[in-house]
Symmetry: C2
DNA sequence: ATGCGCTATGTTACCGCTAACGGTCCTCGG
DNA sequence: CCGAGGACCGTTAGCGGTAACATAGCGCAT
């Protein structure tokens, strides 16, 4: 650094400074500041005052090393721009706020390599727990998680073996359920529009469940359209126009997420297409945005907030039996038919 | 914790384990793992192999205490659900990824008390820098920042005195600029729709700049509408309907953010209102979402990505003169007239 | 041979805090 | 009056690394 950052040219404060200022031992100061152990009311007040006057801020680095306990929870998610994950984070924070634990977020950008790096980085801070999105990890990442010696919660997805605890929904079944609903409504020529992300396993599983249900009815997807990057709403519009001009006979479009679904819906409304009569639409995630559209898009809620809360509760031992590992919670997504799937016939 | 988390019943590994496994001193292992100092090729390889085989993960708590350096940058923002902040974060990450520094995010929910708490918590980890949104802080928070002895960058806003460095735009001028554009287009009966957030100082400053420019032209806001919580898009719709039914004579609506602006635009389109002929609209932020609408909303880009990047560059000393404190960067927001402001007359 | 400079490695002394234990009063029942 | 037990506070010994300073070995010019 090129410049000085000691406004008052003092080195940073330590417990010793507070102890000298208040005339007690460092240990007593430590006890006061952590609110632990017996300290008389009078000394407590004196120490508190001294600490505040000096502007003392404890050093958790030193504290963590000494106590072998760190009040951090590593939260590893693929992205922050998806809106789904901030909502999960909100759930986590809600629960963690009451405890001493603090979430630290790492973002992987859907890259296994980055996940590995981020995880390594996080674990090197010796957090007291890890919440990580998804069940798919590199071998190295899996090994790190297994050997970390702390509770691990994999979230968002329950379709596969868990390392320790797991909280989420079955995306396979979610896709299935949506397909069955669509079929029950009489739609038959179905197209899919999704993201070009090989590492979005949950989207993949939804599609697998979806096509499996179609296959069970002797059907297959008629057409697909993928996108990559850019404004999802705009892409949804463009892709919808593209797929419909290619296959005007399609009677249903299944989108891998609500954002492109909303784009598609906007296109259909603008183009004067009869929704849900001639064409049905459905997305996934139950994003708040949809509430603002004139026509409500059919969607499925992935219980993001609840997933976050449950994961945090596991780490804090707030489970039914107080266990903080080996817990498995499968939530059931709610299917909201909105106004873009016609009534079953 | 109720359950055991030592799959292999070993305590967690330390440098000593690696040193014993590779037959060199702990110091040499430390050098290898940090890639610092001279170590022969052969021992380096041996140590690396041992570390990998054991699955050793360094303990940054101990390392940080010993070296008095912590590769963390505290990033303190009001919210994650605003989309603006994740984008700033992206900018920060882009720059920090190349350095050894790692961002740690704290969220304040626009509450000064929470900001103070989060800041205290963050500083207790002794980060090597702080990036904090806004110039308004409690006295205690300001004192902590001043005395932390590390570079501080306040971002998003330059209208006011900075503690150390600052990167952002002038929201006052942004509001002014928008008002002038609107006036130049001939609109005269102007309404405002915004959030009910006393602590969103940037929104407040925009509105102040906006009304100041109106006043300079002898005008004032004709009506206002505020909301609080819920889906911004929907609220935008509802508020727009409400304000227009109350004051059908308004010829322009200025929104405090793009999300409610987009909601308003959708309402107008659905209601068949002539935009921008009879009614003009404008928002703020340049969110990606707008690209997906049939009609592009007038907006102003707050240079979020650039703000994040510049802030991170200051902390890493990547400035013109290598300084990492006392830097001031004012960016100029771009006004995008979109298709909801008519041509100047 | 001598000593210099370099590379490669080891030793020592902490970093700031807390767990664990010890000590000192004081109270109070027997 | 004594000892047990509690309230309160101090002392000691690390936690797992790293900075800073040796130290050992080697090639090479003198």
């Amino acid at each position: 650094m090129a410049t000085d950052h000691r406004p008052d040219s003092r080195r940073t404060l330590t417990l010793r400074d507070v102890s000298e200022a208040s005339g007690v031992s460092e240990m007593t100061v430590s006890r006061v500041l952590r609110n632990r152990g017996d300290v008389s009311r009078s000394t407590r007040d004196r120490v508190m005052k001294a600490a505040k006057d000096l502007g003392y801020v404890p050093n958790k680095i030193a504290g963590g090393l000494a106590s072998q306990r760190v009040n951090l929870v590593a939260v590893i998610i693929p992205s922050l721009s998806n809106m789904v994950f901030p909502e999960v984070l909100t759930g986590i924070s809600q629960v963690l706020d009451d405890t001493g634990l603090q979430p630290v977020v790492g973002v992987t950008n859907y890259s296994p390599e980055r996940e590995e790096r981020v995880l390594y980085e996080m674990l090197s801070w010796r957090p007291s727990g890890v919440i990580v999105a998804g069940l798919e990890h590199s071998d190295a990442a899996r090994a790190m998680l297994t050997n970390a010696g702390i509770p691990i919660v994999e979230i968002m997805d329950v379709d596969g073996p868990a390392i320790d605890s797991v909280v989420g929904i079955s995306h396979h079944r979610a896709g299935q359920m949506m397909a069955q609903t669509i079929l029950a409504a009489g739609y038959r020529r179905i197209g899919f529009l999704g993201t070009q992300m090989p590492h979005d396993h949950r989207a993949r599983k939804r599609l697998e469940g979806f096509t499996a249900a179609l296959a069970a009815a002797g059907l297959a997807l008629e057409d697909r359209e993928y996108y990559d990057g850019g404004s999802a709403l705009l892409k949804g519009r463009e892709m919808t126009e593209a797929i419909l001009s290619r296959r005007p006979d399609l009677d249903f479009l299944y989108y891998s997420n609500d954002m492109i679904g909303a784009g598609g819906l906007l296109h259909c409304l603008d183009a004067g297409i009869d929704v849900p009569g001639r064409l049905g639409l459905a997305g996934f995630n139950g994003v708040e945005l949809l509430d603002g559209l004139r026509v409500r898009l059919a969607t499925m809620d992935a219980c993001r907030l609840e997933v976050g809360r449950a994961a945090a509760e596991i780490l804090t031992g707030k489970t039914a039996d107080g266990r903080s590992s080996g817990v498995r919670i499968e939530l059931t997504p709610r299917l909201d038919p909105g106004q873009t799937i016609r009534a079953p016939r």
